[in-house]
C-alpha cells in the first residue's frame, strides 16, 4: 500500500540511496464485485486474489458485468446513458496478523537491547473499496486504506477503466491507475502477485528493489490496452509523478519523474480443457530528477526494467493448481548521482506454485532471488538489520505457506520465509552481527472481505 505499511514480496524499504517509497503490494478480492455480478468469488478467483480466466475477462471489461437492478437512462437514439447500481458497490477488508522472526530485532533506541519478538497487528490493514461499474462501459476499483499510525484513511490502489468491444474478437480499453502493474491481468506481476500476495508488515525484508518490483510510488498513469480473442494482449502507457502535495513538484520532492515514464506489456494466453497458460513480457523506463534540495533540471537517473513472466493454472472442481514466475532485469544509470557506480544492474527472480483442495485447503511453495552489481552508496553498511556490510544487493530464499479458506471471503494463512542470503550476505550480513537466517519469519494472517 502507498503508505508503505504492507510489505511486498521482495520490496520493502525505500530503495537504498534512491529514497523511493514502497509501492502498493496488498492484494484484494472485493465482495462488491460479487454483489454487483451475482457471481460467487470463485467465478473470478481461484482463491482470492488470484484471478481465473473469467476474472481476467471481467477486469479487462472494466468491471462492468452487472446483474443488479439498475437506475438506468437512455437517450432519444436508444443509447444507454446511465446504468447505475441501485446500491453502491462498497466492500470492507480487514487483516490481522502475528509475526515472529527467528531472532528478535534490536531495540530502536537502547543499544544492545532487543525489541519484543512476536508482533500482533490488529488491524494489519483495513480498507474500504468502491469497486464496480460506474457507467455502461466504465468501472473502477478504488481502495482507501486505514493508516493505523495516522488514524486516517489514505488513498491506495486505484484502477479506473473504460473498455468496449470493437467487434466479436477485439476488445480495447483505457486504464487510469496509480501503480504500474495494478492494472495487470495476471498474478505474476508485482501489484497482485500470487501465491505470496501477503507478507508481514513488521518483519525485515530485503532492501534492494526494482522499479516494477515495488519501487514505483506516487505515480499516476494512463495505459491503452487491447485484447484479441482472449489470446493476445498488448498494453502501452505512461506514468507521471503524482504525490499528494499542495504546490507544484519542485526541489523539495525526491525522485521526480522527468516527463512520462513509458510502460508496456505483451502477453499471450492459451486455454484448453481446465488449463490456461500465459507467457508474457513487460517493462518500464523511468528518468528521474533526484530532487531533495536540488532543482528539477539537468541530468537524470534512469531505471530501465525489462521482465518476462509466465503463469499456468489448472482449475478443477476438486483440485486447483497454479505455477507462476517472473524474471526482471533492471539497468540503472546514475547520471545525476546517488550511487557509487555510474551504472548498475539489478535482477530479480520470483517463482511460486500453489495447490488448493476444493478451494479450501491450500499449500504453496516459492523461491525468490535478487542479485546485482555491488555499490557502496546504494547498498551501504553501517545500519543494523537494514545495512549491507558487503555492499551487495543480493537476497535469496524460500517461502512456504499453508492456507485455510473456510468461506470464499475468509482466509487464514500460515507462512514461513527462509533467507539463505539477506542484503548481500549470509552470516553477519549487516556488519553488526545479524545473520540472514535471523530474519526468517513466521507469519500468521487472518483476512476478511465483506
Amino acid at each position: 500500500m502507498r503508505q508503505g505499511k504492507l510489505g511486498t514480496f521482495i520490496a520493502a524499504f525505500a530503495m537504498a540511496g534512491g529514497g523511493l517509497l514502497l509501492a502498493p503490494g496488498s492484494a484484494q478480492a472485493v465482495p462488491s464485485f460479487a454483489r454487483q455480478t451475482g457471481f460467487a468469488c470463485e467465478a473470478c478467483h481461484t482463491v482470492f486474489p488470484e484471478l481465473t480466466p473469467f476474472g481476467r475477462r471481467f477486469k479487462m471489461n472494466a468491471y462492468t458485468v452487472d446483474n443488479l437492478p439498475q437506475v438506468s437512462g437512455m437517450t432519444q437514439s436508444k443509447e444507454q446513458s446511465l446504468a447505475l447500481n441501485q446500491l453502491p458497490p462498497l466492500s470492507f477488508m480487514l487483516q490481522a496478523s502475528y509475526t515472529s522472526t527467528k531472532a528478535a530485532m534490536p531495540d530502536s533506541v537502547v543499544a544492545g537491547a532487543l525489541a519484543q519478538n512476536g508482533q500482533v497487528q490488529f488491524p494489519q490493514q483495513a480498507s474500504l473499496f468502491y469497486a464496480g461499474r460506474i457507467a455502461p462501459n466504465l468501472g473502477a476499483f478504488v481502495q482507501m486504506t486505514y493508516d493505523g499510525t495516522a488514524g486516517t484513511f489514505g488513498w491506495d490502489n486505484t484502477d479506473v477503466r473504460y473498455a468496449r468491444m470493437a467487434n466479436d474478437k477485439f476488445l480495447w480499453g483505457v486504464s487510469v491507475n496509480n501503480n504500474p502493474t495494478v492494472q495487470d491481468l495476471w498474478n505474476t506481476t508485482n501489484a497482485w502477485q500470487s501465491p505470496f500476495d501477503q507478507r508481514s508488515a513488521t518483519a525485515p525484508s530485503p532492501g534492494a528493489s526494482t522499479l516494477l518490483g515495488g519501487g514505483a510510488a506516487d505515480m499516476a498513469g494512463v495505459t491503452l490496452y487491447g485484447s484479441w480473442n482472449d489470446t493476445v494482449y498488448a498494453e502501452l502507457g505512461g506514468y507521471r509523478s503524482a504525490p499528494a502535495v499542495g504546490i507544484p513538484l519542485d526541489s523539495t520532492n525526491t525522485n521526480v519523474l522527468n516527463g512520462f515514464a513509458p510502460y508496456w506489456r505483451l502477453a499471450y494466453e492459451r486455454q484448453w480443457d481446465r488449463s490456461s497458460w500465459e507467457v508474457g513480457a513487460y517493462g518500464m523506463t523511468a528518468k528521474m530528477f533526484p530532487g531533495g534540495g536540488v532543482a528539477l533540471s539537468g541530468p537524470t537517473n534512469k531505471l530501465s526494467d525489462w521482465a518476462i513472466d509466465s503463469q499456468y493454472q489448472y482449475i478443477g472442481d476438486q483440485h486447483l493448481f497454479s505455477v507462476m514466475g517472473t524474471y526482471l532485469k533492471e539497468k540503472q544509470t546514475w547520471d545525476a548521482g546517488g550511487a557509487a557506480n555510474p551504472s548498475n544492474d539489478l535482477k530479480t527472480l520470483r517463482v511460486g506454485a500453489s495447490y488448493y483442495y476444493q478451494r479450501k485447503y491450500g499449500a504453496a511453495l516459492g523461491y525468490f532471488s535478487t542479485t546485482g552489481t555491488p555499490d557502496a552508496t546504494l547498498y551501504a553498511s553501517g545500519t543494523a538489520v537494514k545495512g549491507f556490510a558487503n555492499n551487495l544487493p543480493d537476497s535469496k530464499g524460500w517461502i512456504a505457506e499453508l492456507d485455510w479458506v473456510p468461506y470464499q471471503n475468509t482466509k487464514f494463512a500460515l507462512q514461513y520465509t527462509m533467507y539463505n542470503k539477506f542484503n548481500g550476505g549470509d552470516a553477519n550480513y549487516d556488519g553488526m552481527g545479524r545473520n540472514a537466517k535471523d530474519n526468517n519469519t513466521m507469519y500468521l494472517l487472518g483476512w476478511l472481505n465483506f
Binding site: 439498475q70 438506468s72 446504468a83 455502461p136 468496449r164 481446465r274 482449475i315 472442481d317
Partner: protein
Amino acid sequence: MKKIIAIAVGALLASGTGAALAQQDAKSLATGVCAACHGPEGHSISPVFPRLAGQQAAYIVLQLDAFRSHARGDPNAQAYMWGMASQLSDATMKALGDYYAAQKPAHEKPEYPDLLAEGKKIYTEGIPVQNVPACASCHGPKAEGAGAFPRLAGQHTDYLVAQLQGFQSGLRSNAPIMLGVVKTLSPEQMKAAATYAASR
C-alpha cells in the same frame, strides 16, 4: 455492439423496448457476456462450462428460468448462473435459446474409449436389472435431444458426468426424471454413458 459488455439488456427490456431488441441483442449478449465462459458460438473450452452450440432452445430456456428462480442449485449454477440469469427477461431467455440452438454443435471425441462399448449398451438399451431406462428413449438415437430433453452429443464428457453425479447426490435437483434414472448408476457406468452420448 454498444451494449455488448453491459448485461443491463434485461433492464433495457424492462424499460419497454420489446422483444425485437431481445432478438437482436441475444447475439451481442452471447458474444459479449456468455462467451466468457461458454465460448464463442457456445463452444466452451473448459468442461466446467457446458457447450451450448446446437442445444435445444426449450432446454436452455428451462435452465435459465431454473437459475433465475434458484430451482437449479448445483455449485456452479449458484456460483455463476444465479447472478447471470437474475435480471434476464423471458424474452431474452427465449432469444438466447434460439441463438444457441442455431449454432453448429461441437464434436467430442470418446473421452474414455475403453468404456465406449458399455456406454453404447447403456445408452441404447438401458440397464434393465438396475431399472435404468435407455438414454436414447428421451435424448434421441443420436443424442440430439428434443425440446426439454437436452442435446448430449458434442457436450464435454466430464460435464455430463458431473451432471449425472449431481442428479445422484441431489446437488442438481431440477430434473425429476433424471433423479430417478441415475439412482443405481455406478461411477463407471456414468462415465461410460457420458462417453458414448457425448461422442455421437
